[in-house]
């Protein structure tokens, strides 16, 4: 039922492209370019040659995307195929480049906030938080107690909707047309309704401000949120009954796209992908930003680092998120919503630099800012988890079939707004 990872890697050496270097064993366990001939610049792919020196088959180079329905946006993979096996895969991005960083360097700090919504356009609340955190570090602002709770609540709701949608997209890529994705979107809708009544917009929330949040919770919002959170475990149970034991899903995901622990660490993979490979690293626990040290929750870890582990990690993380949400919705205090020292206009942090990072749904989302004391940042840099998690796509896909490439890409969880910025 499941492919063994070692056999998938062995194929790389047998494709005939290794005329420069001898095939090595266990290539995926080391990230060094010396053991991976396809990483050397200027190499050429030769047709496959059999023992007698005759050309036995030809390699086929195709461009998957940028308008391929499974690439989650405008993303292209230049794939070289030997039959159905992938021998080379080059991700090509930049189709959705919007000059986000340069625009931010030419406007005020506040005016960049709505642009951060459009990075990972499924999870605007966590994007807002990461940016607000960086600016607060830069300017020395402290969010109020109530604002901290609201941030945790909105961020965990965002994690729920991100993971729910991702699982929907992932099984859609495996060929489960419609049904699981529609169930996922039905639940997402409830969270989007909460966001709309809180911030005014469903996806582009633009809700966080430096030193707090923009508006206070509308009356009755907490009760609605509690109802949504209370109903979520039942949905997760149903979702798992629908998917987790499905033999087709198991066959398509177990042992596919294995990412080794070492490679994940070396390539600075973060988020559920890293934890699926068995590395215990969650910024909510490591940094304890915000008020995450007050909540009781655990970090689920995978063992194999395959697509199934990445699927399962997300289900388990959602269950932990529900725990955090239940505690936060119980403990949220009354009080002011924004730091009185914070200014909306004429905001000029002192010269300095700051890096604020949070555990977004997709991994470590960081904003690096340098201020020279003027109203706009001197340097503004985003560390997008989607882009960095995408860098090891080729290592996971080599030797697998073209059909599995879609599944592996789906399990990486990318949003092109964040990859290209």
């Amino acid at each position: 039922m499941s492919q063994s990872p070692s056999s998938t890697i062995g194929i790389v050496g047998g494709t005939g492209l290794a005329s420069q270097a001898s095939p090595t064993e266990g290539q995926s366990s080391s990230f060094g370019a010396q053991s991976l001939p396809h990483h050397q610049p200027g190499y050429s792919l030769q047709p496959k040659v059999d023992a007698a020196g005759e050309v036995s088959s030809e390699l086929l180079e195709i461009a998957m995307g940028p308008h391929h329905p499974s690439t989650h946006g405008v993303f292209r993979m230049d794939v070289v195929l030997d039959g159905e096996r992938v021998v080379k895969l080059k991700p090509v991005f930049g189709y959705l480049h919007r000059n986000h960083e340069k625009i931010a360097e030419n406007t005020s700090y506040l005016a960049s906030m709505p642009y951060t919504d459009r990075l990972d356009y499924l999870c605007s609340m966590t994007n807002n938080w990461a940016y607000a955190l960086a600016v607060e570090k830069l300017a020395g602002l402290k969010p109020t107690e109530r604002a901290e709770y609201i941030r945790v609540i909105t961020a965990e709701l965002t994690r729920l909707l991100n993971h729910t949608c991702l699982i929907g997209f992932l099984v859609q890529d495996m060929g489960a047309m419609g049904t699981p994705l529609m169930y996922a979107f039905r639940e997402r809708e409830k969270i989007l309704d909460l966001f709309e009544s809180l911030s005014g917009a469903r996806m582009m929330c633009n809700y966080m401000r430096f030193g707090g949040c923009r508006v206070d919770l509308p009356p009755g919002w907490l009760d609605q949120a509690r109802a949504v959170v209370a109903g979520y475990p039942q949905f997760l149970d149903e979702f798992e009954a629908l998917l987790s034991e499905n033999e087709i899903l198991l066959a398509r995901s177990q042992g596919v796209g294995v990412l080794s622990r070492e490679l994940a660490i070396n390539a600075s993979i973060t988020g559920p992908m890293l934890r699926a490979s068995g590395v215990n690293y969650d910024i909510r626990k490591v940094d304890k930003y915000g008020i995450y040290d007050r909540f009781d929750f655990r970090i689920p870890l995978g063992e194999h680092g395959d697509v199934f582990d990445r699927y399962m990690i997300r289900i388990l993380e959602m269950r932990e998120s529900i725990k955090i949400l239940t505690q936060a919705l119980k403990d949220i205090p009354e009080g002011p919503i924004v730091d009185p020292k914070a200014k909306l206009r004429g905001f000029r942090p002192k010269a300095g630099e700051a890096y604020g990072r949070i555990e977004a749904g997709k991994g470590e989302l960081g904003f690096y800012l340098i201020s020279d004391g003027s109203p706009n940042p001197y340097r503004y840099r985003v560390r997008p988890p989607s882009l960095i998690n995408l860098t090891i796509l080729e290592d996971m896909c080599l030797g697998t079939t073209i059909g599995d490439v879609m599944v592996i890409l789906g399990s990486v969880d990318i949003v092109l707004g964040e990859v290209d910025r």
Partner: protein, 218 residues
Amino acid sequence: MLGTGIIKGMVETARNFVGSYTDEARLTTSEYPEEKLSPKENARTFPFLVFDTTDSAAGLRCVACQICEKECPPKCIYIEKSKTKKPDYTGKPQLFPAVFDIDISVCMSCQICVEVCPFDAIKMDQAFELSTSDRFGGLLLHKEDLAKPNDYYISIHPSEAREVDERLAAEKVKAEAKAKAEAAGSASEPKPAIAPTTKPAPAQPQTGASATPAPATT
């Protein structure tokens, strides 16, 4: 046994399918053009300009200070100041926008113009059926298209509008008290001040009407 997982999943699908006939929670769709959900109170689409009284030109709260134009992240607002002045809701003469354009094909509905406006003159609308066949002029809204009465604002954002009205009424009372004190002071002084010329008497009845907005009708 191979296949039990798929059968379990099928049971779940069947539960949702049958449930969609009996359970509201499993059938969450609404038939949009026929059946419209009422928007959330905080929902926002594009900005509009608030005016008091019934005259959209005279009652416009905007004083063309151009703060929103400066703070707008995608720079979709264009303002030209007027050459003359008109009295605002407290009777104080203020500039007004001769031109106020918002290109809503550029606007990203971020609400920053509303947050920075010190005069409560620009607010977020909830109208969303804005499609037009005119791709050049149809999405460039002028002052006349943007001006909407305060009653409309009260009807779409009731609790927010109530706060704004209370604040403006309090400011008006304060301004009137100050004007009265100044008038009394200048009357007792033998030397006439320049101030009375900038406070025209006809402005008073008009501002009286503007500061007491009609209650919500819708």
